[in-house]
């Protein structure tokens, strides 16, 4: 008997029970097992292992399920608040940019007027005004995105603490 046949038998043993096997394959396997004691012994061990493993009863306690549900809810709340905060930041940022853009023209004129009266170079004043307009909004938005809001953190920690208290009871 070739190695290929043993390998085929082992694969069919492993697949039998969890997959639909062709009748032809099953018949071939039964014939092989009838003549190969090594594969037959493995098939028996395999079935016995499955039988014993399936007999193991493990159940999750209701308190574990309840604690998990509370924790998932607290996390969902936190994620929702974080998402809302990011939306608000994005809206604020956009409003800031729009406001700056609409008033930019006036600032530009003002810059030209300053440059003319103080005798400064136009090439220096105009980029300076642009940076002056945009930089604060970018910096604030960046800081708010980087550092989480302490008030939201406190609420999340309080929700976790109440969840633990609920689980201990």
């Amino acid at each position: 008997m070739s190695n290929h046949e043993h390998e085929r038998a082992l694969e069919l043993i492993m697949r039998r029970g969890s997959e639909e096997l062709a009748v032809r394959d099953l018949e071939w396997l039964n014939t092989h097992l009838a003549t190969c004691s090594e594969c037959a012994a493995y098939a028996e061990d395999f079935d016995q292992t499955g039988h014993l493993l399936r007999a193991v009863a493990v159940t999750a306690s209701p308190s574990l399920v309840s604690r998990t549900q509370q924790r998932v809810h607290a996390r969902a709340l936190y994620l929702e608040e974080q998402r809302s905060r990011q939306v608000l930041i994005a809206i604020s940022f956009l409003l800031g940019v729009l406001s700056s853009a609409t008033s930019g023209w006036l600032w530009w004129k003002f810059g030209g007027w300053i440059a003319a009266h103080l005798g400064l170079s136009q090439a220096l004043v105009e980029p300076g005004i642009l940076v002056f307009l945009v930089l604060p909004a970018v910096l604030i938005a960046g800081l708010m995105m980087t550092f989480p809001n302490p008030l939201l953190e406190e609420r999340f920690l309080a929700a976790l603490a109440s969840e633990r208290e609920g689980g201990d009871r």
Partner: protein, 197 residues
């Protein structure tokens, strides 16, 4: 008749597709229902993988938090249970890496090695005791099987997964699944020869 024709043209949404849609919305009712539906299977998998009840319960919670966070990645094309178990597998691996980067086998705790309840069945008290003893020996032997093999045994026999599903879940080739399954059964052979026959 029109309704029938319409239902033939528009396929019904599968359960997996409904779950995927609910997870994208982070629907709390759906998550509660999923936790209840898969509680025993998930805990059993984690328990077999870690061999420690307390750790398995911690990881159980962590898995569901991760399901919430990564829910938008589930596309509903595969069975939900396969995706859930792959999350559980990753959570267990992360836990192991934090605790001990050397080996998955280190997850088992010999002091807490037999946390399973034997099944309450058998026609006579004598047979019940014999079954209980055999089951206890099996649980003990199972905890001595390397976790890599144990995981594949659990997925194949308890979750009734196909070899391809197991391979996809734990990101290994099908040939490796077969090798681990073979060696897992071989590792339990002394017990099977001594007790069960």
């Amino acid at each position: 008749m029109i309704a029938t024709a319409f239902s033939l043209l528009v396929p019904m949404e599968t359960e997996e597709a409904q779950i995927a849609r609910g997870l994208r919305r982070r629907d709390p009712d759906l998550l509660d229902a999923l936790i209840e539906q898969y509680q025993h299977r998930l805990l059993r998998y984690l328990l077999h993988l870690t061999g420690n009840h307390a750790v398995a319960e911690d990881l159980f919670q962590e898995v569901w938090v991760r399901v919430l966070e990564k829910g938008h990645l589930y596309d509903g094309r595969n069975r939900f249970v396969t995706w859930l178990m792959s999350i559980a597998h990753n959570v267990a691996i992360d836990y192991l890496r934090k605790r001990n980067p050397a080996s998955l086998d280190e997850m088992q705790d010999p002091e807490d090695g037999a946390p399973f309840e034997p099944p309450a069945s058998g026609p006579s008290p004598f047979e019940q005791v014999a079954q209980r003893q055999q089951q206890e020996r099996f649980d003990e032997a199972l905890q001595n099987v390397p976790a890599l093999f144990r995981e594949v045994l659990v997925l194949r026999f308890q979750e009734q997964m196909k070899l391809e599903e197991i391979a996809k879940l734990i990101h290994i080739p099908v040939a490796t699944v077969k090798t681990r399954l073979y060696r897992g059964v071989q590792a339990l052979r002394p017990l099977l020869e001594g007790g069960a026959r």
